[in-house]
């Protein structure tokens, strides 16, 4: 296992007395994707902003390739690429010029810049828009340009803040492919998302945060296991024994009994499942592996309890 190129410890940030990021630790290695997952307002963007030097943390340390970030920010930033959550393209320039101008904000200068820009336009399918204003781009292509721009200077660490939000399913898949190929090239990628499937499929490691705090961390399927257990059962709304099953599960200590459009969703252990089958012989339900949707629903429920 190679050492992490990005290493952060105890990251903390408050805005007006509200702690937005609370003692977060994370690290990312070359050629891997760290998925930062959390509901709206969890502190994902703020975490990224501290990591790439947009806002200073109140506490904590950040190291790039073993060097303290605040020791020589400018040098460290040469190897950081950022794709912001909002559209921060430069609408005074064309698509190709956006890449050229962005490269001018880095020193040492990008080698063979013209070639690099042509290569990126080609790879991100932007070549036909090269001389057009970004105004003509659809949402999916704006996102492509933002990502292309973020790597124009050949960084080794890449931050992608919700790279697929607002995209249609096929545009999302395209972005996934691009992310996968950038990982294969050895980039260390930190990605935020609210999409469960995205986090699950793209991340080598997952960090789930909620109200600024770490909820779970590790390999995607393990994270789900720790928070939710082995299985989720789904009891349809028409099932007469629904209430009874819910009560029984709650009595056994199942914490996260969720109702989604009238159907019951409960994470259960193997043992629960065995006993449930023995007890409710007449009832029907489905069993499936837990996914991050279940996790989010569980987190949203916790929110109330923390207050």
């Amino acid at each position: 296992m190679t050492t992490a190129i990005l290493e952060a410890r105890g990251l903390t940030k408050s805005y007006a007395d509200k702690i937005v990021v609370d003692r977060l630790d994370l690290s990312c290695r070359r050629g891997t994707v760290l998925g930062l997952l959390g509901p709206n307002g969890a502190g994902k963007t703020t975490t990224l902003r501290m990591l790439y030097g947009f806002v200073p943390p109140d506490a904590g340390s950040i190291h790039y390739a073993g060097k303290r970030f605040d020791e020589d920010r400018t040098e460290a930033k040469r190897s950081i690429g950022v794709c912001t959550q909002g559209d921060s393209l430069d609408y005074d320039f064309t698509v190709a010029q956006n890449l050229l101008i962005y490269a001018s904000y880095f020193r040492p200068r990008v080698e063979n810049l013209e070639g690099r820009v042509a290569e990126l336009l080609d790879r991100f399918d932007l070549a036909e828009y090269a001389d057009a204003s970004p105004h003509v781009l659809s949402g999916g292509f704006v996102r492509r340009l933002l990502i292309a721009r973020s790597i124009v200077h050949r960084p080794s660490v890449l931050f992608l803040d919700e790279p697929t939000t607002g995209l249609d399913p096929s545009a999302r898949l395209d972005v996934w492919e691009l992310i996968d190929s950038m990982r294969a090239e050895g980039l260390a990628i930190v990605l935020t998302t609210h999409y469960m499937d995205e986090a699950e499929r793209l991340s080598d490691e997952l960090l789930v945060i909620h109200e600024g705090r770490k909820v779970a961390q590790g390999e995607p399927h393990r994270v789900i296991d720790t928070v939710l257990g082995d299985h989720v059962i789904i009891v349809p709304r028409g099932e007469p024994a629904r209430e009874e099953i819910a009560a029984w599960l709650q009595a056994r200590g199942a914490e996260q009994v969720a109702t989604v459009l009238g159907e019951l969703r409960v994470p259960v252990t193997k043992q629960d499942l065995v006993e449930l089958t023995a007890r409710f012989t007449e009832a029907t339900w489905q069993v499936r592996p837990p996914n991050l949707d279940d996790l989010f629903i569980a987190l949203a429920r916790r929110k109330g309890r923390f207050r």
Binding site: Y15, Y52, F54, V55, P56, R73, T74, K77, R78, I80, V82, T84, G86, D87, S88, L89, D90, Y91, D92, F93, I101, Y102, S104, Y105, F106, R107, R149, S150
Partner: protein, 272 residues
Amino acid sequence: MRGLKSLTAVADWQSWAVFRRNALVFLRHWRTAVIPPAMEPVIFFVAFGLGFSGYIETLEYRGVDINYATYVAAGLVAYTGFGTPYYEALYSAYFRMFYQKTWDGILATQVELPSVVWGEILWGAVRGMVNISIVSVVIAVFDLIGLVDVKAEFLILMPFLGFIAGCAFASFALIFTAIVPAIDHMNYPVFLIGWPLSLVSNTFFPVEPQSPALQALMQINPVYQLAETARGFLVLGDPGPHLLGLLGSTTLFLIPCTLLSVRLTRRRVLGD
């Protein structure tokens, strides 16, 4: 420490990268960017300078009789030298900062916030140079056909004087850019500060306050110093004490305004 860094950032390559960006945007559509603003001083010149000349025949300037149009010629250099960077920094920077979110992109690179501010200041000042150059050409033409009487060889200096003072005006404007809550509120810095300041600074008519306090205030007003320096050169070939006054008042403005605008912009853009 952070303050000193904000000031020395003017020498960083990052500031000039932002400056270059702004200059490239200008060059992309320079026709629309140059012609309308260049017409403004010409219209002023014709309306005020030549219009009033019929009523005000001559004016005494530092012991020399000059016609009113000649007085206004130098005033226009100051009017343009103030207005161009001031409004450029107010509006263009506001659009770049809040509407287009361009700065959010730039600040994710090696460029830090003080450099973004300096990029805007330097660009505003150079934009002033461009417009002053156009005004100077107009004055040279009027001089040639005898409408004004200036020492035309000194017109070449005007853009450079404008650059110096322009840095102060742009940094001053950026304070408002950072604090106006919405674009409509730009009316405050435009009408309550921009307009009065460009009128009471010996631009279109001499202002001679009696009170020593007001007189002192005049001395630290870079618009006034710019007008008088320009006039000194154009009428007498000698700016007198005003060249020093221009440098002094510019410095007096530039340093605190830059520090403040960096700080306020930091708060606004970074929420810090």
